[in-house]
Structure formats: structure tokens, C-alpha cells
Symmetry: C3
Subunit: 127 residues, 3 copies
Amino acid sequence: MPLIEIIALLAVAQFLYFGYLVGMQRQKSGLKAPTMTGDDGFERAFRVQMNTLELMIALIPVLLLAGKYWPAWLIAPIGIVYLVGRTLYQQAYMNAPTKRGTGFMLSLGPIAALLVLALLGAVWHLF
Amino acid sequence: MPLIEIIALLAVAQFLYFGYLVGMQRQKSGLKAPTMTGDDGFERAFRVQMNTLELMIALIPVLLLAGKYWPAWLIAPIGIVYLVGRTLYQQAYMNAPTKRGTGFMLSLGPIAALLVLALLGAVWHLF
Amino acid sequence: MPLIEIIALLAVAQFLYFGYLVGMQRQKSGLKAPTMTGDDGFERAFRVQMNTLELMIALIPVLLLAGKYWPAWLIAPIGIVYLVGRTLYQQAYMNAPTKRGTGFMLSLGPIAALLVLALLGAVWHLF
């Protein structure tokens, strides 16, 4: 489990970094809180953070529960694909939002795989 | 615990499904990212997803911690009420936002109950 | 761990309370769902809730994982600083958004500290 926990913690660190980028874009744009619209760079950075937040609430439980029932050599690589996919998504969204599909699929796909694995593991241990 | 974990994973699956509905509404509306306003169907689907996200960050820890201290026959039904309540909330919000109260209470209520049970369990085990 | 779990549950309760304040501001403002803009008090309360949501997805895993590897007398006080920092942030944002920096740092700082401690603990247990 420590390896799986490290991947979960790296996903948290990545998410906090995306939050830092939102703060940078707010400063650059000169938008004052609570305003959330009016600057494209800020809106993109904010959407990256929000979309990552939406995935994180799924990732953390499915990653830790899949890691409880399956060996780390199977689960850790799936978690690493998520981390790389999110980075691609962030890069694409900032530069060309229409090209964010690949990065999105490379971060949603691992979550779907971990969800299925965690469900199989838990159902198996019901009996 | 496997039964409680399955309910937590079903809540994750439901949340991902709500996210899928947001994507469908974005396509239907023709809104381009990062725009988040301008189409009522999209805004409603997005509010369903965001409100569910707000509850999920509470649900996952209180469900798993309540399940650690209390028997599954008590905790699992409370989790199932949450899942049904969220479905009612989603249906109501898409069709008539002013009628979303019942579904909202049927998903917030179980979280409040699980929070109290988890707190009681943890306080009991402090000593 | 029960003490650390209680702090995690108090953070959930605090977050639900911030959500309650958003509902109060919506009623007061007369804004109808799904509208999210047009009233400063509502927008501020909503931003407090969203910013807290962004931190909660980081706090819950880092708090529980740090609590797994380090003694409660070290981790619990850091969690309490987070709870106090969030209260200061909420107070400041509602009254004078530009003064929210101190409360923000007092809630982000503990998360950063817990993240580092959790990573050190997990890496240490890898070998």
C-alpha cells in the first residue's frame, strides 16, 4: 500500500499545483475576487483545476480501494497513467482547449479501470 | 467493510455518470470550453454535478468511517438512501429546479446521519 | 487514529456549514437556481465553499495518511490550525475579500505540512 499511497499523494500535490496556477492567472489578469470570468487565461486555468477536482473525488477512493484488493505492480502503473494524462490535459487546455481530449481520456480511463477493479475486489470479498 | 466500500464506489460511479451528462449537455448546447453559462440545460446539469461533488467530499469519509465503527446492516441502508436521493435530485433539477428540495434532503440527510455516527464511533474509541 | 478521524470529521462538518451559509445567501439574494452570479454576498459565500472544497480534497487524504504514519500529538495540532485558518478565511472573505490571505495561508500551510509528512511516512515504509 505505501506505493499506492505515494501515487495518491502525488495526485494531491499535482492538484495543489493546478490551484497555484489559478492564483498566478488571477494576479496576471488583475481580476478581483469573487469575480470568476472576464479573462481567458484565468478561466482556462480555473477549468483545469475544477475538472481535476471532479476527477480527484473519484480517483482517491478508487485508487486506495483498488490498492487494498490488488497488487501494487498492477495498480501503480494505472495511477501513473492518470498523473501523466492530467499533465497532458493541463498543457492542452491552456494552449488549445479543443485539443484537451487525449489528456482527458488518459485521466478518466485509469479512474474507470480502477473503479472496476475496486468493485471486483470488494464484491469478491463480500462472500 | 466490503459492502460499505461497494456503496462508496457506486456513489463514485453515479458522480461520474453526472459528469457524463454535463458533457452531453455541452455538446447539445454547442457551448465551447471554457464557457460555463448561456444554456439552461447545460447549467442545470453542471449544477447537479457540482452539488454532488460538494456532497461527495463529505459522503466518502463519513461513510467509510461510520462503516469502520458500526455494523454494515445499519450503515449500508443509509448509504442507499443517499444514492436514491441523489437520483431524485438529478431528475428534479433537470425538469423543474424548484422541486429539487426532496432529493436534496434525501442526500444531505444520510450524510448528516453518517457524520454523527462516525463522530460517535471515533469519540467512543478515543478512550 | 480516532483523534485524527475526529479532526477529519470536524473539517467535513465545517464544510457542510459553509454550504449551509451559501443556501442562506441564495435565499437572502432571491437568486433562482441555476443562476450563480448577480449578488455579492452569495458569490462570496459560494467562493468560500468552493475554495474549501478545493482544499478538502487535499486535506482528507493527507490528514488520514499522515495520521497513519505519525503520532497523533504531532498531526492533531496541524489539523486544528487548518480548522481555525478556514474559519478566519471565511470571516475575512465575507467582510473584506482582499484580507483573506492570512486565513488562506493558515489553511493551505497545514495541508502542505501534512502532505510532506504523509509522503515521508509512506516513502519510509516502502523499504
